[in-house]
């Protein structure tokens, strides 16, 4: 077993375990911390896949941004971390069935359809060509996504703002 494979299996185990914790932990703050672990595991897998830029974006945006946002929301809705409250609804059995069926379908399709794909040598300067692509071929989606971010920001502010008392 090579070093790459060892690292892959370690990171896969970390990511899966933390993801299970996110879904099953009783205290929602523990869920948020497990989510950070999952994001770090996925970032490590990106590094293994020669996507260093995406790994950096993953750490900056998910770990630094979205998790902080989630923690703020958890603290602002503080009553929910009370103990002894049921964390799952009544459809656990049915959900497990559906999820297992979908997992079996995806796994079958992946193993059947991409069994013969070998690995290519990594392309050098991947980040540089990524930036060039974003500003040439994909400049229209790039601009559209910036407008989307602006709209989401304005919408989030309007939704979260406390209304003035009406008389």
């Amino acid at each position: 077993m090579t070093v790459t494979q060892t690292v892959f299996f370690l990171m896969a185990a970390l990511t899966t375990g933390a993801a299970l914790l996110v879904v099953l932990a009783k205290n929602i703050v523990h869920c948020a911390i497990a989510l950070v672990l999952t994001f770090f595991g996925v970032a490590a897998l990106y590094v293994l896949l020669d996507a260093e830029f995406l790994a950096a974006v993953q750490v900056l945006l998910y770990v630094g941004g979205i998790t902080i946002l989630l923690l703020f929301a958890i603290m602002l809705t503080s009553r929910i971390s009370a103990r002894g409250v049921k964390i799952m609804n009544e459809q656990v059995g049915m959900s497990a069935l559906v999820v297992f069926a979908i997992f079996a379908l995806i796994a079958f399709a992946s193993l059947k359809g991409f069994a013969v794909v070998g690995s290519l040598p990594p392309s050098s300067y991947a980040t540089a060509s990524l930036g060039r692509l974003l500003l040439t071929t994909y400049v229209l989606p790039f601009e559209a996504v910036s407008i989307l971010l602006l709209a989401a920001m304005v919408g989030a502010i309007i939704l979260a703002r406390r209304e003035r008392e009406k008389d």
Partner: protein, 102 residues
């Protein structure tokens, strides 16, 4: 070298875990966390394909960047909605918010 199928199976496992969470959690913030797990699984698939399939164009990574951006927007708006729900209902358990259900 790790074969592509390992990444695909790992991504499928992550997606299944996230989907289970999104279907069974009562807490709205927990549901949002499970959604983020599913986004991550999809991104892992994109990046793995962009690394293994014969192409020098990096479309997979470009698409993963856009998915991350939309996920950030979704998280911001979703959490704002959760705060609004908490202000109006004093709870964020989604099975107790059944005003429009009969």
């Amino acid at each position: 070298m790790v074969p592509l199928s390992h990444y695909l199976i790992l991504s499928a496992v992550l997606f299944a875990i996230g989907m289970f969470g999104a279907l069974t959690r009562r807490n709205a913030i927990g549901i949002l966390m499970a959604l983020e797990l599913m986004f991550n699984a999809v991104n892992l698939n994109f990046v793995a394909f962009s690394r293994y399939l014969p192409s020098t164009m990096l479309q997979g990574q470009i698409f993963a960047i856009f998915v991350i951006t939309v996920a950030a927007a979704e998280a911001a708006v979703g959490l704002a909605i959760v705060l609004g729900l908490y202000r109006n209902f004093k709870t964020i358990n989604v099975d107790e918010i059944n005003l429009m259900k009969w």
